[in-house]
């Protein structure tokens, strides 16, 4: 199974220096992700889930252990791994179209191919007609759609999502979760979603990794054997959601 894994995390630990004391945030994590899989990572705040995603992105190289993507150690960031942050992080001085195009700055594609990729991804997230809008003219949900398009525009084989809907209102959030499921099915790529929302983790994930905090360790991995596209009212999904919620609540010291 590990041979065909696209992401292989081996004995990964991460320490932060807090006032001269090393604080262990991730403790000897082991995890493999299959190509095309949707993996959710869920846990209470402080469990190191966002830290893990930063390591996977390549924004932080200071850790112990090994992270391999298709058998090669992660060194720095890569255009093969897209990222969507909790805040949309669109550049306010650029239009939606220019923001989505940011990811193609260092791509070797032809001009026409870049142009087409930008248009296609704006359409994919349902923002056609808003290409010329500046970020301050968009609602939170629309801005996050643009951020997803920006993360996908390079056609990376992995998309990393760091609590992408955490700052949105409940209705917009469930709508975008549904959209993300559709996009994942359409693009057939590997997605890793970090979230503290148990419903979201189970609704979207093929597997749900439950992290426990202080220090961050894998508590359990729950398989979600329900076919996509999923129905939120599905009893199997609901039962699994409660099971995962139980794992998190039981371990929380506060």
């Amino acid at each position: 199974m590990t041979e065909q894994a696209i992401i292989d995390i081996r004995q990964v630990s991460k320490r932060y220096k807090v006032s001269n004391e090393a604080l262990l945030v991730l403790d000897s994590l082991n995890l493999s992700v299959q190509p095309g899989e949707f993996l959710s990572i869920v846990g209470a705040s402080g469990c190191g889930k966002s830290t893990l995603l930063r390591l996977l992105t390549g924004l932080d190289a200071d850790y112990d252990g090994e992270i391999k993507i298709r058998g090669e150690r992660v060194v720095g960031t890569s255009l093969d791994r897209g990222i969507v942050f909790q805040e949309h992080r669109l550049f306010p001085w650029l239009t939606v179209k220019q923001n989505v195009g940011l990811g193609l700055q260092n791509s070797t594609w032809s001009q026409e191919k870049k142009q087409k990729a930008v248009d296609d991804h704006i359409a994919l997230v349902g923002l056609t007609g808003f290409e010329g809008a500046f970020p301050h003219q968009l609602s939170g949900g629309m801005a996050q759609r643009a951020a997803i398009a920006r993360g996908l525009v390079n056609q990376p084989s992995i998309l990393l999502l760091d609590e992408p809907f955490g700052a949105l209102d409940a209705l917009t959030r469930s709508r975008l979760q549904q959209e993300l499921q559709r996009i994942w099915q359409a693009e057939k790529i590997t997605m890793i979603l970090v979230t503290h929302d148990v419903d979201e983790a189970v609704y979207l994930g093929d597997r749900v990794v439950v992290l426990q905090p202080r220090p961050g360790r894998i508590r359990r991995i729950v398989d979600v054997d329900v076919a996509h596209p999923r129905d939120r009212a599905d009893p199997a999904l609901k039962a699994l959601t409660e099971e995962v919620r139980g794992e998190i609540v039981n371990v929380s010291p506060n």
């Binding site: 992080r89 550049f91 001085w93 007609g129 808003f130 301050h136 609602s139 209102d169």
Partner: protein
Amino acid sequence: MSELLTVEARGSSAREPAVEAGGSSAREPGVDKPAVLETRTWWQRSLATRRGLVVPGLVLVAWIVATHYGLVNKHLVAKPEKVVTRAIEELRNGGLLLNLFASIKRDLIGFVIGAVAGVLFGGLLGVSRRSERLFGPTFHAAKQVAMFAWIPLMSVWLGTGEVAKVVFIAVAAFYPIVVNTQEGIESVAREHIEVARAFRYTRWQIVRKVVFPSALPSIFAGVQTGLIYAWLGTIGAEYLLSPDLGIGNLMIEGRESLQMDKVLLGVTVVGLVGASINLLASRLEQYVLRWRVTAFEARQ
């Protein structure tokens, strides 16, 4: 603006339901704003402008009353109509335009030198921690020296001619532009730099595509202050260094021959030029920084 309107128009078309129209509690709030801006009619805008004319109007009335009823010494304050006839006369004999162009030319040359140097130096202080440590303390100490306190020193080093004047104007523009450029660069969001890093931008690409645009509003604020300082410096330099063509010189002539109408003409022209420079700069800023949420929109 036309771009914004297109967005607004499309937003309310049939496409909208597809874009979480019902899903979001905020019904694309931002997209409505440009339309609100447009509802301010020409009449309302000109009314706002007219309010600004109330105080100058009152001053003019007070001036007319004071000079006509002998409330002030007529040798010290000329009548407004005398200033107008003086203006016409100076325009006819070409003196006013000659002096005005000389001043503006001097102002612009000094400003451009000071602004280019200011953006480069401020950029260096902002980007490189090492140069901030090396030059920062000296710069911030030197900045405390009042602008006109440099004049005695400069006149000794550079003489009192055109070079000294232009250098003085450049120095006047330099300081605010350095400070604002550095501040703008240092306030760039770490989050935006991370996005650029995720897309494998080189250091130079990050400076050009992220740091510089982020700093632009602040740089513009510095440029605007720099323009004002440069114009103040122009008149100051003309007044304090050796006489040559220039509005400052017009005023010196007027003072020496006790022609108060000439002095007041000079004051008026200086004020009008200063106000025009300011207006042009803020128009340019509005255009270049049109992506920003303006104070007006934010209040909606």
